[in-house]
Assembly symmetry: C2
Homo-oligomer: 463 residues x 2
């Protein structure tokens, strides 16, 4: 008969019986077809209640170790051999992430100033939005995104960027890269994608990983060149016309029109306009979006709140031309909306209440100030430095003519606790003309840090 060394005759006695019998079966001590004692007799033998044995047998039947045959009893099931016992496989090995040396001043192009976030307004909006009397609060978000947010975006994008659309054309995503993945799913892997060179690397990696043929075309001082793309058709052209990433120029109107005209050449051609930081243009008002001058439904407009609110919120949006909307709706259910209803509702309220635009205006002033500080600080380097891409966004580019390589610039800066961002990694091919060039972002730095950082770089780079 079965003897079980109970550790603890407590509430979970049945668990011990269950564990014991399971072990006996996997160890092969109880074999396929073997009959177990009846519940009553095992209970009496172990001095436990019949219910306790019943619970243990029940669990073993549910998991497939035992089979219950009416009126005959319980039998051991057939189980393939497998190393069930040696189950101490808890990996302690951890993959080490690349070390970051101690960085005191980080000229990251992606950082924002967290000090000016409207914490109080956000708390109030949470209070109002997170309301148990809203019977939709805990529901799955609408497949395209919550209606409040999409309606707020229709107005906002028209006012700020001239984008013309209705709320049915808007898709809410969890970041630009996620929206590009959706486009990939929608088009399938046969659609070629034309990318700027240099380029926003995520766009390159996403399309490459999705298996779409990637064509990279060099940019000149006006942005991506149109002539080289003319031999292609049925392509999607990914561009950053407001503020080319990373080089920072904005695409002038003649290039924009030539790009739109190229898109019109073929029914399958589309333009993906990534307008990632258009809110931040300092000397002129932001250029109207490409979408605003597109009359033929060729432009897919993409924006994000990473720069205008904070990178911690993973909310982006895409305006689809009507022709792509139907294809999207076919896959929408499989994709699901990736952003929590609560945050969609909150950001929607943030915009409709006018808090968002006030906040962006405030941020623009703050970044404009930082930019002036940085430009003034850079004067101490004299004219051996070429500055470009300084009219918008949160970063500019500096290029040295003293023969220092990009790598040396990076390494020497890091040795002094200053991090700068080389431009060559953004190139898909041939960065030869962009030697000794790095990005300097100023979004998160204080005036003092900017001055001090530029001073340290002057020394480190022998300027």
């Amino acid at each position: 008969m079965i003897t079980i060394p109970f550790k603890n005759k407590g509430a979970f006695l049945y668990v011990e019986i269950y564990e014991y019998l399971k072990r006996e079966i996997t160890d092969g001590n109880l074999k396929f077809g073997e009959k177990l004692p009846s519940k009553r007799s095992l209970a009496s033998h172990l001095s436990v209640s019949v219910n306790t044995v019943d619970a243990a047998y029940g669990q073993l039947v549910a998991e497939g170790y035992l089979e219950s045959s009416p009126k005959r009893g319980y039998f051991v099931c057939q189980i393939d051999t497998y190393l069930l016992k040696q189950n101490n496989h808890v990996s302690e090995k951890k993959i080490k992430k690349p070390e970051t040396k101690s960085v005191k001043i980080d000229f990251s192009p992606n950082a924002i100033d967290q000090r000016i976030f409207p914490y109080e307004a956000f708390r109030k909006i949470f209070k109002v939005t997170f309301n148990e009397y809203d019977s939709y609060l805990l529901n799955k978000p609408d497949l395209q995104g919550e209606l409040e947010l999409r309606k707020a975006l229709v107005e906002l994008l028209y006012r700020s960027r001239g984008v013309r659309c209705n709320e049915d054309q808007i898709i809410i995503g969890s970041g630009t890269s996620h929206l590009l993945q959706i486009l990939g799913l929608l088009w399938g892997k046969n659609k070629s994608v034309v990318l700027e060179n240099p380029v926003y690397l995520k766009a390159y990696h996403i399309f490459e990983k999705m298996g779409n043929p990637v064509i990279s075309i060099d940019i000149d001082e006006k942005g991506i060149q149109i002539e080289p793309m003319k031999k292609f058709s049925d392509v999607a052209v990914y561009v950053t016309p407001s503020h080319q990433f990373p080089l920072g120029m904005s695409m002038p109107i003649d290039r924009r029109i030539r790009l739109l005209n190229f898109a019109n050449q073929d029914q399958g051609n589309y333009i993906i306009e990534d307008d990632y930081d258009s809110e931040f243009r300092y000397n002129e008002k932001p250029l109207p979006s490409l979408q605003s001058i597109d009359n033929n439904g060729k432009v897919i407009y993409i924006g994000t709140f990473s720069k205008s609110i904070a990178p911690s919120f993973r909310i982006s949006y895409m305006v689809l031309p009507e022709a792509l909307l139907k294809a999207y709706l076919e896959i929408a259910d499989a994709i699901s909306s990736p952003v929590s209803s609560l945050e969609q509702k909150m950001i929607g309220a943030f915009i409709s209440d006018g808090v968002f635009e006030k906040h962006v205006n405030k941020m623009r002033k703050v970044y404009k100030g930082k930019r002036i500080v940085l430009m003034n600080a850079l004067k101490q380097w004299g004219d051996r430095v070429k500055i470009t891409g300084e009219n918008a966004g949160h970063h500019l580019l500096v290029q040295l003519d003293n023969g220092l390589t990009e790598e040396a610039m990076y390494t020497r800066a890091l040795a002094q606790g200053v991090r700068v961002y080389p431009v060559s990694p953004y190139f898909i091919h041939g960065a030869e003309n962009y030697k000794s060039m790095v990005l300097l972002g100023y979004g998160s730095l204080t005036d003092k840090q900017i001055y001090s950082g530029i001073g340290i770089l002057k020394e480190a780079w022998d300027l």
Copy 2:
């Protein structure tokens, strides 16, 4: 000379000058190469300040309509013809979504009971987490997901599901479908995917859209069959072993072991274990996960908070075997973490504070109660109804033997304001053996609604 019919001599005078000149250029009244009046002379002519004209010219230069030539003046740029003017393309057409007739009682398998959500605990956690003194609060989330949440999951998944992993193996995603997309990116389109038939449709659509060859294998009473998959290698097998979706059986131990043994046959074989609702098992304790008995790093474990917290939160998680982790880290930067830092931190605290497990226990009791009510109500239908899949989750299946088709069941129910969910749409092929079968979900219904709904269905289906 230029005459501008000012509408409003206010603060944005320069905008009117800019708009006017832009129109003149796009209309072709000002032609390529034409010289504009000097700033000073135009200002004097229009009785505005030179600064105002300077701002207008500046914007036109920035957008590429004008070119400024030092000491010579401003000239019109060359711009391709394009229908810039006819820019009234605001689509009013909206794609109509499928109508839903007025549904009074919805037996949806995906709905939860919103009445038992821990609103107050959630408010408190927001208050603590949304804290301006946390200098990481607004940062982009960690590429794999916030560490707090991953650490909390390591403990939770071990306690509740026997999952053995460390926090470096966990990836936070914005829903199961998003995690499957990541796996698709990681493997590329040549990896074949074996699916259960019937299946969780999103899994099918995602892999199909990503271009992965899809093999669907019929399930029997133990779940997916192993023999038919033996002729394949280098495949990922997507399964729902705790509670097959939609049919509801749980995979017994012998089938689990045969599945693991199949996975071990080939280095490229993997199992995707979607454990979407394992928290909700009523007669026995939840079955240990497949991952917990896998000694060879073959199982990718996926879970979600859609059922255990609410579908409004788009947070899912995946435990990757070490062998896949490196491949993930290579694409992690391109993907970015898709879930807001704030919500990751909040759910992390929710778990570590013990609120989550208390909540799940409460929900389990509530759903167990609903399930008893439903099972009792179904007794009035007599034995002309076969009930399956009732041991777990938020739904069960009923099959009639009175010759009524699934479609008739659906239509007749809907005519009485009751929505049921036919099972055949979940089949990739051959649903012949599952005629007259529908899903009845009870997650969101009150006891009264369940009784009343089952009464209405009795009439509608001539039972």
